[in-house]
Subunit: 223 residues, 2 copies
Amino acid sequence: MTNARDIDADPPLRRDAERNRRLILDAAASAFAERGLGVTMDEIAQHAGVGVGTVYRRFPNKEDLIDALFVDRLDEVTQAADEGLAHEDPWDGLVWFLERSLQLQAQNQGLKELVSGTSHGRERVTVARERLVQKVRELVDHARAAGTLREDFDAFDTPVLQTMLGSVLDFSHDVSPELWRRFFAIVLDGLRARRDAPTPLPAAALDEHQLDRAMAAWKSPRR
Amino acid sequence: MTNARDIDADPPLRRDAERNRRLILDAAASAFAERGLGVTMDEIAQHAGVGVGTVYRRFPNKEDLIDALFVDRLDEVTQAADEGLAHEDPWDGLVWFLERSLQLQAQNQGLKELVSGTSHGRERVTVARERLVQKVRELVDHARAAGTLREDFDAFDTPVLQTMLGSVLDFSHDVSPELWRRFFAIVLDGLRARRDAPTPLPAAALDEHQLDRAMAAWKSPRR
DNA sequence: GCGAAACGGAGGTAGGTACTCAACTTCTGT
DNA sequence: ACAGAAGTTGAGTACCTACCTCCGTTTCGC
């Protein structure tokens, strides 16, 4: 007799199909990471070395593919929040989280787009995002209660902060991938309740050539 | 005898044409200001109450229209830099400029897109932008030399700073148009060489509802 | 009242992308 | 060995968006 689980479970994939599924997942992961959620399904198929039709056989649409790929990535960010929450000093915990989160987003353009509100992704991604937001609020509230974070900073300011630093990621990614650390350090100095002298900046400023390149590549959003 | 100027000068427009030219300029100015350079020529024509053909009769293409409209706006920003340069205290001058520049960009979405590097606009706009960049460098160098601006801040960091704060403008414009002032204040605290306690934040944080709306509307750039 | 200038706006053109489908290929259990 | 189910393919479809053109019609100025 077959039980409920056997009925629900899809039959195993044929060997070639399983291999292609992996190729697609790998290609999609690296394409989304490098160039964001805007990559076309055709590009993903080409990278995977299969036809577009094959991609659509496995993943009915693009959102489903994103969903399958990014739940784990978002969980990594949530885990960073948990690690931050576990720190003894709440300020250190907040900084730990912000830095790790930004670093993950710097490594993964698609994750960045997902974290900062773009409506991409399906239910599982949305749920993961909400869990994250909750934890980040705790993190901020603790740091403020401890008195290291300036008092007038609000938990609802954090997504704006992330968007703001995320734009530095976009701006300079191709030209100086670590530049965000400079501005993160500046912002942190601005977030501390008290401070005597600035914390040294961790990355080099852009030079003229890099700046030109970044500005030329920068496209503003909106409709 | 007709001199060189008469030969170069276009014959005056017919009365109706002149009237429409103004209608188009006005409609384009407010559309670009409110919704950015992405507005379509058809929208502009409709706002002006004329046909698209009429717009194209006066302005051969969209770039020319942008050019005609934005040279003056960019000069306003440059003027703010000059005013900043005229301040007695170089730090106050820098803050004056940044605040005024951001404020102008907050009022004019199109200006914001033009200032932060998008390749829109033709030669006259490009020239105006370069003049501006030069002045901003002076401003930064003075403030650093005076010792109020942190030493490790570089003149080439300024466009990144503007992009960063510009993203706050994009993020919250529809929901809380003054929010940028909060983050501007935070960043300024991070830019000061020394400081005891945080400067009070000038705008309210977003509430949950506003944040949801902003996140939903936020689209990331890239291809 | 005539000719030149200006107008309007439907449609041409170009570019881009998610997704489909019918003909073909590969796998697997017997 | 082979049947037929499962899988593959990629040109094609459907759809969108936005700049710009064209030409029949209207308005202006002399």
